[in-house]
Symmetry: C2
Subunit: 326 residues, 2 copies
Protein backbone atom coordinates (compact mmCIF):
# COMPACT_ATOMS: atom_id res chain seq x y z
CA UNK A 1 0.00 0.00 0.00
CA UNK A 2 1.43 3.40 -0.90
CA UNK A 3 1.50 6.08 1.75
CA UNK A 4 -1.44 7.91 0.16
CA UNK A 5 -3.60 4.81 0.40
CA UNK A 6 -3.09 4.44 4.15
CA UNK A 7 -6.10 5.49 6.21
CA UNK A 8 -5.93 9.07 7.48
CA UNK A 9 -5.65 9.80 11.19
CA UNK A 10 -5.92 13.40 12.38
CA UNK A 11 -3.82 14.06 15.48
CA UNK A 12 -4.57 16.83 17.97
CA UNK A 13 -1.91 17.79 20.47
CA UNK A 14 1.23 15.64 20.86
CA UNK A 15 0.31 12.24 22.26
CA UNK A 16 3.45 10.84 23.94
CA UNK A 17 2.66 7.39 22.60
CA UNK A 18 2.94 8.75 19.04
CA UNK A 19 6.24 10.47 19.80
CA UNK A 20 7.61 7.26 21.32
CA UNK A 21 6.41 4.87 18.62
CA UNK A 22 6.04 7.14 15.56
CA UNK A 23 7.22 4.44 13.11
CA UNK A 24 4.59 1.98 14.19
CA UNK A 25 1.88 4.54 13.49
CA UNK A 26 3.26 5.84 10.21
CA UNK A 27 3.65 2.30 8.87
CA UNK A 28 -0.08 1.84 9.24
CA UNK A 29 -1.71 5.27 8.97
CA UNK A 30 -1.34 8.58 7.20
CA UNK A 31 -0.75 10.81 10.21
CA UNK A 32 -1.89 14.42 9.91
CA UNK A 33 -0.76 16.49 12.90
CA UNK A 34 -2.64 19.71 13.53
CA UNK A 35 0.39 20.80 15.57
CA UNK A 36 2.53 20.86 12.40
CA UNK A 37 0.52 23.87 11.23
CA UNK A 38 1.28 27.33 12.53
CA UNK A 39 -2.41 28.23 12.36
CA UNK A 40 -4.66 28.16 15.41
CA UNK A 41 -6.61 24.88 15.44
CA UNK A 42 -9.94 26.28 14.25
CA UNK A 43 -8.29 28.07 11.32
CA UNK A 44 -6.25 24.98 10.43
CA UNK A 45 -9.35 22.81 10.38
CA UNK A 46 -11.24 25.45 8.34
CA UNK A 47 -8.41 25.64 5.79
CA UNK A 48 -7.49 21.95 5.46
CA UNK A 49 -9.85 19.80 3.43
CA UNK A 50 -7.70 16.81 4.37
CA UNK A 51 -8.24 17.41 8.06
CA UNK A 52 -11.96 17.96 7.56
CA UNK A 53 -12.22 14.65 5.70
CA UNK A 54 -10.71 12.70 8.61
CA UNK A 55 -12.86 9.91 9.97
CA UNK A 56 -10.53 9.12 12.89
CA UNK A 57 -8.94 11.43 15.45
CA UNK A 58 -6.09 10.59 17.83
CA UNK A 59 -5.40 12.61 20.98
CA UNK A 60 -4.18 12.19 24.56
CA UNK A 61 -4.80 15.04 27.02
CA UNK A 62 -5.52 17.66 24.32
CA UNK A 63 -8.94 19.33 24.66
CA UNK A 64 -11.38 18.06 22.01
CA UNK A 65 -14.23 20.57 22.30
CA UNK A 66 -17.71 20.53 20.81
CA UNK A 67 -16.57 23.28 18.42
CA UNK A 68 -13.63 21.18 17.18
CA UNK A 69 -15.91 18.18 16.68
CA UNK A 70 -18.32 20.48 14.83
CA UNK A 71 -15.57 21.25 12.30
CA UNK A 72 -15.06 17.57 11.50
CA UNK A 73 -18.16 16.42 9.59
CA UNK A 74 -16.78 12.95 8.66
CA UNK A 75 -15.55 12.05 12.14
CA UNK A 76 -16.55 8.57 13.34
CA UNK A 77 -13.91 7.78 15.96
CA UNK A 78 -11.97 9.58 18.68
CA UNK A 79 -9.11 7.49 20.09
CA UNK A 80 -7.50 8.88 23.20
CA UNK A 81 -4.22 7.46 24.46
CA UNK A 82 -5.22 8.09 28.07
CA UNK A 83 -7.24 6.49 30.84
CA UNK A 84 -9.46 9.56 31.32
CA UNK A 85 -11.71 11.18 28.71
CA UNK A 86 -12.40 14.43 30.56
CA UNK A 87 -10.66 16.41 27.78
CA UNK A 88 -13.23 15.20 25.23
CA UNK A 89 -16.76 16.59 24.81
CA UNK A 90 -18.31 13.16 25.30
CA UNK A 91 -21.92 14.42 25.02
CA UNK A 92 -21.25 15.97 21.64
CA UNK A 93 -19.63 12.73 20.44
CA UNK A 94 -22.66 10.79 21.67
CA UNK A 95 -25.03 13.16 19.93
CA UNK A 96 -23.11 12.82 16.65
CA UNK A 97 -22.76 9.04 16.98
CA UNK A 98 -18.97 9.35 17.17
CA UNK A 99 -17.40 6.42 18.95
CA UNK A 100 -14.72 6.99 21.63
CA UNK A 101 -11.96 4.53 22.46
CA UNK A 102 -9.59 4.96 25.36
CA UNK A 103 -6.53 3.19 26.75
CA UNK A 104 -8.56 0.18 27.79
CA UNK A 105 -6.90 -2.14 30.24
CA UNK A 106 -3.41 -1.10 29.21
CA UNK A 107 -2.87 1.47 31.95
CA UNK A 108 -5.08 0.12 34.73
CA UNK A 109 -2.44 -2.06 36.39
CA UNK A 110 0.15 0.69 36.55
CA UNK A 111 -2.32 3.17 37.99
CA UNK A 112 -3.47 0.60 40.54
CA UNK A 113 0.14 -0.19 41.49
CA UNK A 114 0.77 3.51 42.02
CA UNK A 115 -2.39 3.87 44.13
CA UNK A 116 -1.29 1.01 46.38
CA UNK A 117 2.27 2.36 46.49
CA UNK A 118 1.03 5.78 47.57
CA UNK A 119 -1.26 4.28 50.22
CA UNK A 120 1.54 2.14 51.70
CA UNK A 121 3.87 5.12 51.55
CA UNK A 122 1.48 7.44 53.42
CA UNK A 123 0.55 4.78 56.02
CA UNK A 124 4.09 3.61 56.61
CA UNK A 125 5.74 7.04 56.08
CA UNK A 126 8.26 5.65 53.58
CA UNK A 127 9.09 8.90 51.74
CA UNK A 128 9.10 10.94 54.95
CA UNK A 129 11.45 8.46 56.63
CA UNK A 130 13.66 8.39 53.53
CA UNK A 131 14.01 12.19 53.77
CA UNK A 132 14.81 11.85 57.49
CA UNK A 133 17.60 9.38 56.76
CA UNK A 134 19.09 11.33 53.87
CA UNK A 135 19.55 14.29 56.20
CA UNK A 136 21.56 12.05 58.53
CA UNK A 137 18.90 12.49 61.23
CA UNK A 138 18.69 8.85 62.31
CA UNK A 139 22.26 8.81 63.62
CA UNK A 140 22.03 12.41 64.86
CA UNK A 141 18.61 12.49 66.54
CA UNK A 142 17.52 8.88 66.97
CA UNK A 143 14.46 7.03 65.79
CA UNK A 144 12.20 8.51 63.15
CA UNK A 145 9.51 10.27 65.14
CA UNK A 146 6.36 9.69 63.07
CA UNK A 147 4.05 6.82 63.93
CA UNK A 148 3.19 4.57 61.04
CA UNK A 149 -0.08 2.73 60.72
CA UNK A 150 -0.74 -0.81 59.61
CA UNK A 151 -2.30 -1.54 56.23
CA UNK A 152 -3.90 -4.82 57.24
CA UNK A 153 -7.39 -4.42 58.70
CA UNK A 154 -7.82 -0.92 57.25
CA UNK A 155 -11.21 -0.17 55.72
CA UNK A 156 -10.55 1.26 52.27
CA UNK A 157 -13.24 2.91 50.16
CA UNK A 158 -12.77 3.00 46.40
CA UNK A 159 -14.31 5.98 44.60
CA UNK A 160 -15.17 4.71 41.12
CA UNK A 161 -14.98 0.94 40.82
CA UNK A 162 -14.09 0.77 37.13
CA UNK A 163 -11.08 -0.94 35.59
CA UNK A 164 -8.58 0.89 37.77
CA UNK A 165 -10.64 0.84 40.96
CA UNK A 166 -11.19 -2.90 40.60
CA UNK A 167 -7.46 -3.51 40.23
CA UNK A 168 -6.82 -1.41 43.35
CA UNK A 169 -9.43 -3.39 45.30
CA UNK A 170 -7.96 -6.73 44.20
CA UNK A 171 -4.49 -5.68 45.36
CA UNK A 172 -5.57 -4.24 48.70
CA UNK A 173 -7.61 -7.28 49.61
CA UNK A 174 -4.46 -9.39 49.78
CA UNK A 175 -3.02 -6.92 52.31
CA UNK A 176 -6.01 -7.62 54.54
CA UNK A 177 -7.86 -4.36 53.78
CA UNK A 178 -11.65 -4.33 53.88
CA UNK A 179 -12.98 -2.90 50.63
CA UNK A 180 -16.16 -0.92 49.95
CA UNK A 181 -16.94 1.45 47.11
CA UNK A 182 -18.92 4.34 45.73
CA UNK A 183 -19.93 4.42 42.10
CA UNK A 184 -22.76 5.76 39.95
CA UNK A 185 -24.63 2.61 40.72
CA UNK A 186 -24.23 -0.67 42.57
CA UNK A 187 -22.35 -3.34 40.61
CA UNK A 188 -23.79 -6.81 40.49
CA UNK A 189 -20.40 -8.32 39.73
CA UNK A 190 -18.86 -7.61 43.16
CA UNK A 191 -19.84 -8.27 46.77
CA UNK A 192 -18.04 -5.27 48.30
CA UNK A 193 -20.38 -3.01 50.30
CA UNK A 194 -21.70 -0.14 48.18
CA UNK A 195 -22.25 3.44 49.34
CA UNK A 196 -24.41 5.62 47.14
CA UNK A 197 -22.92 8.84 48.57
CA UNK A 198 -19.19 9.49 48.67
CA UNK A 199 -19.71 11.25 52.00
CA UNK A 200 -21.02 8.02 53.47
CA UNK A 201 -18.11 6.09 51.95
CA UNK A 202 -15.67 8.47 53.62
CA UNK A 203 -17.46 8.26 56.97
CA UNK A 204 -17.23 4.46 56.98
CA UNK A 205 -13.61 4.05 55.91
CA UNK A 206 -10.07 4.63 57.15
CA UNK A 207 -8.84 5.53 53.68
CA UNK A 208 -10.36 6.39 50.32
CA UNK A 209 -8.74 5.89 46.93
CA UNK A 210 -10.07 8.12 44.16
CA UNK A 211 -10.15 6.26 40.82
CA UNK A 212 -13.17 7.76 39.07
CA UNK A 213 -13.28 9.71 35.84
CA UNK A 214 -13.53 13.50 35.87
CA UNK A 215 -16.90 14.82 34.74
CA UNK A 216 -19.28 17.60 35.67
CA UNK A 217 -20.71 15.21 38.25
CA UNK A 218 -17.37 14.36 39.84
CA UNK A 219 -15.65 17.76 39.72
CA UNK A 220 -14.94 18.83 43.34
CA UNK A 221 -17.01 15.87 44.51
CA UNK A 222 -14.47 15.34 47.32
CA UNK A 223 -14.87 18.52 49.31
CA UNK A 224 -14.39 19.63 52.89
CA UNK A 225 -17.55 17.85 54.04
CA UNK A 226 -16.36 14.53 52.63
CA UNK A 227 -12.87 15.01 54.06
CA UNK A 228 -14.22 15.84 57.51
CA UNK A 229 -16.25 12.62 57.32
CA UNK A 230 -13.03 10.73 56.49
CA UNK A 231 -11.64 12.09 59.74
CA UNK A 232 -8.42 12.95 61.53
CA UNK A 233 -6.77 9.57 60.93
CA UNK A 234 -8.18 9.19 57.44
CA UNK A 235 -5.99 8.96 54.36
CA UNK A 236 -6.92 10.03 50.84
CA UNK A 237 -5.18 8.78 47.70
CA UNK A 238 -5.90 10.34 44.31
CA UNK A 239 -4.81 8.67 41.05
CA UNK A 240 -7.77 10.03 39.05
CA UNK A 241 -7.75 13.75 38.23
CA UNK A 242 -6.85 16.62 40.52
CA UNK A 243 -10.17 18.37 39.96
CA UNK A 244 -12.17 15.51 41.54
CA UNK A 245 -10.94 16.89 44.86
CA UNK A 246 -11.46 20.47 45.97
CA UNK A 247 -7.72 21.02 46.38
CA UNK A 248 -7.98 24.21 48.45
CA UNK A 249 -10.29 22.55 50.96
CA UNK A 250 -8.09 19.44 51.08
CA UNK A 251 -5.02 21.56 51.81
CA UNK A 252 -6.88 23.33 54.63
CA UNK A 253 -7.89 19.95 56.07
CA UNK A 254 -4.29 18.72 55.88
CA UNK A 255 -2.85 21.89 57.44
CA UNK A 256 -5.39 21.81 60.25
CA UNK A 257 -5.01 18.10 60.94
CA UNK A 258 -8.62 17.39 59.91
CA UNK A 259 -7.43 14.42 57.85
CA UNK A 260 -4.51 12.10 58.49
CA UNK A 261 -2.64 12.18 55.20
CA UNK A 262 -2.73 12.18 51.41
CA UNK A 263 -1.02 10.42 48.51
CA UNK A 264 -1.48 12.55 45.40
CA UNK A 265 -0.53 11.67 41.84
CA UNK A 266 -2.67 14.43 40.37
CA UNK A 267 -3.33 18.11 41.05
CA UNK A 268 -5.78 20.75 39.92
CA UNK A 269 -3.28 22.93 38.05
CA UNK A 270 -0.43 20.66 36.94
CA UNK A 271 2.53 21.07 36.96
CA UNK A 272 1.87 23.61 39.69
CA UNK A 273 1.72 21.80 43.00
CA UNK A 274 0.45 23.96 45.88
CA UNK A 275 3.49 24.97 47.93
CA UNK A 276 1.60 24.45 51.19
CA UNK A 277 2.02 20.71 50.59
CA UNK A 278 5.82 20.82 50.36
CA UNK A 279 6.41 20.92 54.11
CA UNK A 280 3.97 18.18 55.10
CA UNK A 281 5.36 14.79 56.15
CA UNK A 282 1.96 13.09 55.97
CA UNK A 283 1.70 13.77 52.25
CA UNK A 284 3.33 12.01 49.29
CA UNK A 285 3.50 13.95 46.03
CA UNK A 286 3.77 12.31 42.62
CA UNK A 287 3.94 14.13 39.24
CA UNK A 288 0.98 12.50 37.43
CA UNK A 289 3.28 9.52 37.06
CA UNK A 290 0.85 6.67 37.53
CA UNK A 291 1.02 5.50 33.93
CA UNK A 292 4.55 6.39 32.97
CA UNK A 293 6.24 3.01 32.70
CA UNK A 294 7.71 1.92 29.37
CA UNK A 295 5.82 -1.39 29.56
CA UNK A 296 2.54 0.45 29.82
CA UNK A 297 3.37 2.67 26.89
CA UNK A 298 4.10 -0.42 24.87
CA UNK A 299 0.63 -1.74 25.73
CA UNK A 300 -0.90 1.67 25.14
CA UNK A 301 0.65 1.83 21.67
CA UNK A 302 -0.69 -1.64 20.91
CA UNK A 303 -4.25 -0.90 22.03
CA UNK A 304 -4.28 2.50 20.29
CA UNK A 305 -3.17 1.04 16.97
CA UNK A 306 -5.54 -1.90 17.25
CA UNK A 307 -8.47 0.43 17.95
CA UNK A 308 -7.65 2.47 14.85
CA UNK A 309 -7.19 -0.64 12.70
CA UNK A 310 -10.45 -2.13 13.95
CA UNK A 311 -12.30 1.09 13.13
CA UNK A 312 -10.91 1.27 9.58
CA UNK A 313 -11.72 -2.39 8.93
CA UNK A 314 -15.18 -2.02 10.53
CA UNK A 315 -14.45 -4.52 13.28
CA UNK A 316 -15.37 -4.16 16.96
CA UNK A 317 -13.08 -1.80 18.86
CA UNK A 318 -10.76 -3.15 21.55
CA UNK A 319 -11.70 -0.60 24.17
CA UNK A 320 -14.77 1.35 23.20
CA UNK A 321 -15.84 3.71 25.92
CA UNK A 322 -19.26 2.60 27.07
CA UNK A 323 -19.61 5.07 29.87
CA UNK A 324 -17.47 7.27 32.05
CA UNK A 325 -16.80 5.77 35.47
CA UNK A 326 -18.06 6.88 38.45
Amino acid sequence: MSHKELPLVLVLGSPLVLTMFEDRFTQRFRILKASDSDLPLDQFLASSSHARSATALLCAGFRVSGETIGQLPSLGLVVTASAGVNHIDVSECRRRGIVIADSGESLSEDVADMAVGLLIDVCRKISAADRYLRKGNWAAFGDFPLAASKLGGKRVGIVGLGRIGSEVAKRLEVFGCKISYNSRKKKDSVTYPFYIHVHELAANNDAIVVCCGLSDQTRHMIDKKVLLALGKEGVIVNVARGEVINEKEMIQCLLQGEIGGAGLDVFEDEPNVPKELFGLDNVVLSPHNAVLTPDSFESLCEVTIRNLEAFFSKKPLLSELVRVEI
Copy 2:
Protein backbone atom coordinates in the same frame (compact mmCIF):
# COMPACT_ATOMS: atom_id res chain seq x y z
CA MET B 1 -2.01 -13.70 93.67
CA SER B 2 0.42 -11.41 95.48
CA HIS B 3 3.24 -9.84 93.50
CA LYS B 4 5.79 -12.21 95.03
CA GLU B 5 3.85 -15.20 93.83
CA LEU B 6 3.85 -14.07 90.18
CA PRO B 7 6.25 -16.00 87.97
CA LEU B 8 9.64 -14.33 87.55
CA VAL B 9 10.75 -13.02 84.16
CA LEU B 10 14.31 -11.74 83.76
CA VAL B 11 14.55 -8.94 81.21
CA LEU B 12 17.74 -8.12 79.29
CA GLY B 13 17.96 -4.80 77.50
CA SER B 14 14.86 -2.60 77.11
CA PRO B 15 12.31 -4.32 74.89
CA LEU B 16 10.09 -1.59 73.42
CA VAL B 17 7.05 -3.81 73.85
CA LEU B 18 7.64 -3.85 77.62
CA THR B 19 8.07 -0.07 77.74
CA MET B 20 4.84 0.40 75.78
CA PHE B 21 2.72 -2.11 77.69
CA GLU B 22 4.48 -2.32 81.07
CA ASP B 23 1.21 -2.73 83.03
CA ARG B 24 0.13 -5.75 81.07
CA PHE B 25 3.39 -7.47 81.91
CA THR B 26 3.57 -6.48 85.58
CA GLN B 27 0.00 -7.65 86.16
CA ARG B 28 1.05 -11.13 85.14
CA PHE B 29 4.76 -11.47 85.90
CA ARG B 30 7.37 -10.36 88.37
CA ILE B 31 9.63 -8.39 86.03
CA LEU B 32 13.33 -8.24 86.93
CA LYS B 33 15.21 -5.84 84.69
CA ALA B 34 18.96 -6.30 84.51
CA SER B 35 19.10 -2.73 83.20
CA ASP B 36 17.87 -1.42 86.58
CA SER B 37 21.22 -2.46 88.06
CA ASP B 38 24.28 -0.27 87.65
CA LEU B 39 26.49 -3.35 87.48
CA PRO B 40 27.73 -4.80 84.21
CA LEU B 41 25.50 -7.71 83.18
CA ASP B 42 27.88 -10.51 84.16
CA GLN B 43 28.45 -9.02 87.62
CA PHE B 44 24.73 -8.41 88.09
CA LEU B 45 23.93 -12.02 87.24
CA ALA B 46 26.75 -13.26 89.50
CA SER B 47 25.47 -11.18 92.42
CA SER B 48 21.70 -11.70 92.07
CA SER B 49 20.34 -15.06 93.21
CA HIS B 50 16.93 -13.92 91.97
CA ALA B 51 18.23 -13.41 88.47
CA ARG B 52 20.09 -16.71 88.55
CA SER B 53 16.89 -18.50 89.58
CA ALA B 54 14.95 -17.16 86.55
CA THR B 55 13.43 -19.81 84.31
CA ALA B 56 12.24 -17.33 81.66
CA LEU B 57 14.11 -14.54 79.93
CA LEU B 58 12.62 -11.71 77.87
CA CYS B 59 14.65 -9.69 75.35
CA ALA B 60 14.33 -7.95 71.99
CA GLY B 61 17.51 -6.98 70.12
CA PHE B 62 19.80 -7.32 73.20
CA ARG B 63 22.67 -9.79 72.74
CA VAL B 64 22.06 -13.03 74.66
CA SER B 65 25.48 -14.69 74.51
CA GLY B 66 26.56 -18.20 75.44
CA GLU B 67 28.29 -16.71 78.51
CA THR B 68 25.07 -15.04 79.69
CA ILE B 69 23.13 -18.26 79.18
CA GLY B 70 25.88 -20.08 81.14
CA GLN B 71 25.17 -17.84 84.15
CA LEU B 72 21.49 -18.83 84.19
CA PRO B 73 21.34 -22.45 85.32
CA SER B 74 17.52 -22.61 85.67
CA LEU B 75 16.74 -21.05 82.29
CA GLY B 76 14.13 -22.92 80.23
CA LEU B 77 12.77 -20.22 77.91
CA VAL B 78 14.07 -17.24 75.96
CA VAL B 79 11.27 -15.06 74.57
CA THR B 80 12.38 -12.43 72.11
CA ALA B 81 10.01 -9.64 71.07
CA SER B 82 11.50 -9.55 67.57
CA ALA B 83 11.21 -11.33 64.26
CA GLY B 84 14.91 -12.21 64.13
CA VAL B 85 16.90 -14.26 66.66
CA ASN B 86 20.38 -13.36 65.48
CA HIS B 87 21.11 -11.70 68.84
CA ILE B 88 20.63 -15.02 70.66
CA ASP B 89 23.19 -17.82 70.86
CA VAL B 90 20.74 -20.32 69.42
CA SER B 91 23.22 -23.24 69.42
CA GLU B 92 23.91 -22.83 73.13
CA CYS B 93 20.15 -22.74 73.83
CA ARG B 94 19.71 -25.91 71.76
CA ARG B 95 22.53 -27.65 73.63
CA ARG B 96 21.01 -26.72 76.98
CA GLY B 97 17.45 -27.63 75.91
CA ILE B 98 16.34 -24.02 76.36
CA VAL B 99 13.31 -23.22 74.22
CA ILE B 100 13.20 -20.01 72.15
CA ALA B 101 10.01 -18.17 71.24
CA ASP B 102 9.91 -15.21 68.87
CA SER B 103 7.32 -12.74 67.60
CA GLY B 104 5.48 -15.42 65.65
CA GLU B 105 3.10 -14.16 63.02
CA SER B 106 2.57 -10.83 64.76
CA LEU B 107 5.10 -8.86 62.73
CA SER B 108 5.11 -10.72 59.43
CA GLU B 109 2.36 -8.72 57.76
CA ASP B 110 3.91 -5.37 58.56
CA VAL B 111 7.32 -6.45 57.35
CA ALA B 112 5.78 -7.85 54.16
CA ASP B 113 3.82 -4.63 53.59
CA MET B 114 7.04 -2.65 53.96
CA ALA B 115 8.89 -4.96 51.55
CA VAL B 116 6.17 -4.46 48.92
CA GLY B 117 6.06 -0.72 49.62
CA LEU B 118 9.82 -0.44 49.13
CA LEU B 119 9.71 -2.47 45.92
CA ILE B 120 6.90 -0.35 44.43
CA ASP B 121 8.72 2.79 45.56
CA VAL B 122 12.01 1.80 43.90
CA CYS B 123 10.32 0.59 40.69
CA ARG B 124 7.98 3.55 40.37
CA LYS B 125 10.41 6.14 41.86
CA ILE B 126 7.83 7.42 44.34
CA SER B 127 10.20 8.91 46.94
CA ALA B 128 12.53 10.30 44.29
CA ALA B 129 9.61 11.96 42.46
CA ASP B 130 8.25 13.28 45.77
CA ARG B 131 11.62 14.98 46.39
CA TYR B 132 11.55 16.38 42.85
CA LEU B 133 8.13 17.93 43.41
CA ARG B 134 8.92 19.34 46.84
CA LYS B 135 11.79 21.28 45.30
CA GLY B 136 9.33 22.85 42.87
CA ASN B 137 11.14 21.15 39.97
CA TRP B 138 8.04 19.92 38.12
CA ALA B 139 6.84 23.45 37.36
CA ALA B 140 10.39 24.75 36.89
CA PHE B 141 12.02 22.02 34.80
CA GLY B 142 9.19 19.87 33.46
CA ASP B 143 8.51 16.18 33.74
CA PHE B 144 10.33 14.05 36.29
CA PRO B 145 13.26 12.63 34.35
CA LEU B 146 13.62 9.13 35.76
CA ALA B 147 12.01 6.19 34.00
CA ALA B 148 9.85 4.01 36.17
CA SER B 149 9.37 0.32 35.62
CA LYS B 150 6.22 -1.75 35.83
CA LEU B 151 5.67 -4.15 38.71
CA GLY B 152 3.43 -6.54 36.81
CA GLY B 153 5.33 -9.26 34.99
CA LYS B 154 8.48 -8.76 37.07
CA ARG B 155 10.23 -11.92 38.20
CA VAL B 156 10.79 -11.56 41.94
CA GLY B 157 13.00 -13.92 43.92
CA ILE B 158 12.37 -14.25 47.65
CA VAL B 159 15.41 -15.02 49.80
CA GLY B 160 14.07 -16.99 52.78
CA LEU B 161 10.51 -18.18 52.29
CA GLY B 162 9.50 -18.20 55.94
CA ARG B 163 6.56 -16.39 57.50
CA ILE B 164 7.61 -13.00 56.14
CA GLY B 165 8.80 -14.24 52.76
CA SER B 166 5.53 -16.11 52.23
CA GLU B 167 3.52 -12.98 52.99
CA VAL B 168 5.63 -11.00 50.53
CA ALA B 169 5.10 -13.65 47.85
CA LYS B 170 1.33 -13.71 48.42
CA ARG B 171 1.14 -9.93 48.01
CA LEU B 172 3.35 -9.70 44.95
CA GLU B 173 1.47 -12.44 43.11
CA VAL B 174 -1.62 -10.23 42.96
CA PHE B 175 0.45 -7.51 41.25
CA GLY B 176 1.27 -10.02 38.52
CA CYS B 177 4.83 -10.74 39.67
CA LYS B 178 6.33 -14.16 39.03
CA ILE B 179 7.67 -15.57 42.28
CA SER B 180 10.59 -17.92 42.88
CA TYR B 181 12.65 -18.45 46.03
CA ASN B 182 15.83 -19.55 47.68
CA SER B 183 15.77 -21.23 51.05
CA ARG B 184 17.76 -23.80 52.99
CA LYS B 185 15.69 -26.44 51.30
CA LYS B 186 12.81 -26.80 48.89
CA LYS B 187 9.37 -26.44 50.48
CA ASP B 188 6.73 -29.01 49.66
CA SER B 189 3.97 -26.57 50.57
CA VAL B 190 4.53 -24.20 47.63
CA THR B 191 4.82 -24.54 43.87
CA TYR B 192 7.09 -21.53 43.28
CA PRO B 193 10.32 -22.45 41.48
CA PHE B 194 13.15 -23.12 43.95
CA TYR B 195 16.79 -22.13 43.51
CA ILE B 196 19.28 -23.82 45.77
CA HIS B 197 21.86 -21.04 45.30
CA VAL B 198 21.05 -17.38 45.90
CA HIS B 199 23.34 -16.53 42.99
CA GLU B 200 21.10 -18.55 40.69
CA LEU B 201 18.01 -16.87 42.17
CA ALA B 202 19.50 -13.46 41.41
CA ALA B 203 20.48 -14.44 37.88
CA ASN B 204 16.93 -15.55 37.10
CA ASN B 205 15.01 -12.62 38.57
CA ASP B 206 14.38 -8.91 38.00
CA ALA B 207 14.24 -8.22 41.73
CA ILE B 208 15.12 -10.03 44.94
CA VAL B 209 13.55 -9.46 48.34
CA VAL B 210 15.69 -10.50 51.30
CA CYS B 211 13.53 -11.93 54.11
CA CYS B 212 15.81 -14.55 55.69
CA GLY B 213 17.16 -14.66 59.22
CA LEU B 214 20.72 -13.56 59.95
CA SER B 215 23.04 -16.44 60.83
CA ASP B 216 26.63 -17.44 60.17
CA GLN B 217 25.36 -19.02 56.97
CA THR B 218 23.53 -15.92 55.73
CA ARG B 219 25.99 -13.20 56.81
CA HIS B 220 27.20 -11.40 53.65
CA MET B 221 25.45 -14.06 51.59
CA ILE B 222 24.41 -11.32 49.14
CA ASP B 223 27.75 -10.16 47.82
CA LYS B 224 29.09 -8.57 44.67
CA LYS B 225 28.84 -11.83 42.74
CA VAL B 226 25.15 -12.20 43.57
CA LEU B 227 24.46 -8.54 42.79
CA LEU B 228 26.23 -8.75 39.44
CA ALA B 229 24.04 -11.75 38.64
CA LEU B 230 20.97 -9.65 39.51
CA GLY B 231 22.16 -7.19 36.87
CA LYS B 232 21.98 -3.59 35.79
CA GLU B 233 18.19 -3.37 35.88
CA GLY B 234 17.86 -5.54 38.97
CA VAL B 235 16.37 -4.28 42.22
CA ILE B 236 17.19 -5.51 45.71
CA VAL B 237 14.94 -5.04 48.73
CA ASN B 238 16.15 -5.89 52.24
CA VAL B 239 13.75 -6.17 55.19
CA ALA B 240 15.83 -8.82 56.97
CA ARG B 241 19.10 -7.69 58.56
CA GLY B 242 21.70 -5.37 57.09
CA GLU B 243 24.48 -7.94 57.53
CA VAL B 244 22.85 -10.39 55.10
CA ILE B 245 24.13 -8.08 52.36
CA ASN B 246 27.76 -7.08 51.97
CA GLU B 247 26.89 -3.39 52.23
CA LYS B 248 30.19 -2.08 50.87
CA GLU B 249 29.92 -4.23 47.77
CA MET B 250 26.27 -3.27 47.30
CA ILE B 251 27.14 0.43 47.50
CA GLN B 252 29.87 -0.05 44.89
CA CYS B 253 27.38 -1.83 42.63
CA LEU B 254 24.86 0.99 43.08
CA LEU B 255 27.42 3.72 42.45
CA GLN B 256 28.72 1.98 39.35
CA GLY B 257 25.28 1.19 37.95
CA GLU B 258 25.86 -2.57 38.28
CA ILE B 259 22.40 -2.97 39.80
CA GLY B 260 19.26 -0.96 39.12
CA GLY B 261 18.17 0.08 42.60
CA ALA B 262 17.65 -0.82 46.23
CA GLY B 263 14.97 -0.50 48.91
CA LEU B 264 16.64 -0.85 52.29
CA ASP B 265 14.97 -1.03 55.68
CA VAL B 266 18.10 -2.36 57.39
CA PHE B 267 21.79 -1.54 57.41
CA GLU B 268 24.98 -3.09 58.72
CA ASP B 269 25.74 -0.46 61.35
CA GLU B 270 22.41 1.12 62.35
CA PRO B 271 21.67 3.95 62.85
CA ASN B 272 24.64 4.83 60.66
CA VAL B 273 23.53 4.76 57.06
CA PRO B 274 26.39 4.97 54.55
CA LYS B 275 26.46 8.53 53.24
CA GLU B 276 27.18 7.34 49.70
CA LEU B 277 23.51 6.30 49.54
CA PHE B 278 22.12 9.76 50.35
CA GLY B 279 22.54 11.14 46.84
CA LEU B 280 21.11 8.18 44.94
CA ASP B 281 17.64 8.49 43.40
CA ASN B 282 17.35 4.76 42.71
CA VAL B 283 17.54 3.96 46.41
CA VAL B 284 14.88 4.19 49.13
CA LEU B 285 16.12 4.32 52.71
CA SER B 286 14.03 3.28 55.71
CA PRO B 287 15.14 3.34 59.38
CA HIS B 288 14.52 -0.33 60.35
CA ASN B 289 10.87 0.66 60.42
CA ALA B 290 9.26 -2.43 58.99
CA VAL B 291 7.59 -3.48 62.24
CA LEU B 292 6.91 -0.15 63.89
CA THR B 293 3.15 0.17 63.66
CA PRO B 294 1.10 0.40 66.89
CA ASP B 295 -1.17 -2.43 65.70
CA SER B 296 1.79 -4.74 65.35
CA PHE B 297 3.08 -3.86 68.78
CA GLU B 298 -0.32 -4.71 70.19
CA SER B 299 -0.06 -8.14 68.54
CA LEU B 300 3.55 -8.48 69.63
CA CYS B 301 2.59 -7.77 73.24
CA GLU B 302 -0.16 -10.37 73.02
CA VAL B 303 2.04 -13.11 71.59
CA THR B 304 4.91 -12.34 74.00
CA ILE B 305 2.66 -12.56 77.06
CA ARG B 306 0.93 -15.67 75.79
CA ASN B 307 4.27 -17.40 75.19
CA LEU B 308 5.36 -16.61 78.76
CA GLU B 309 2.03 -17.75 80.23
CA ALA B 310 2.11 -20.97 78.22
CA PHE B 311 5.63 -21.70 79.45
CA PHE B 312 4.74 -21.14 83.13
CA SER B 313 1.62 -23.30 82.84
CA LYS B 314 3.51 -25.98 80.87
CA LYS B 315 1.38 -25.59 77.77
CA PRO B 316 2.60 -25.50 74.16
CA LEU B 317 4.14 -22.18 73.16
CA LEU B 318 2.41 -19.96 70.62
CA SER B 319 5.48 -19.35 68.51
CA GLU B 320 8.30 -21.68 69.42
CA LEU B 321 11.25 -21.23 67.14
CA VAL B 322 11.72 -24.48 65.30
CA ARG B 323 14.50 -23.34 63.05
CA VAL B 324 16.03 -20.16 61.75
CA GLU B 325 14.88 -19.30 58.23
CA ILE B 326 16.79 -19.18 55.41
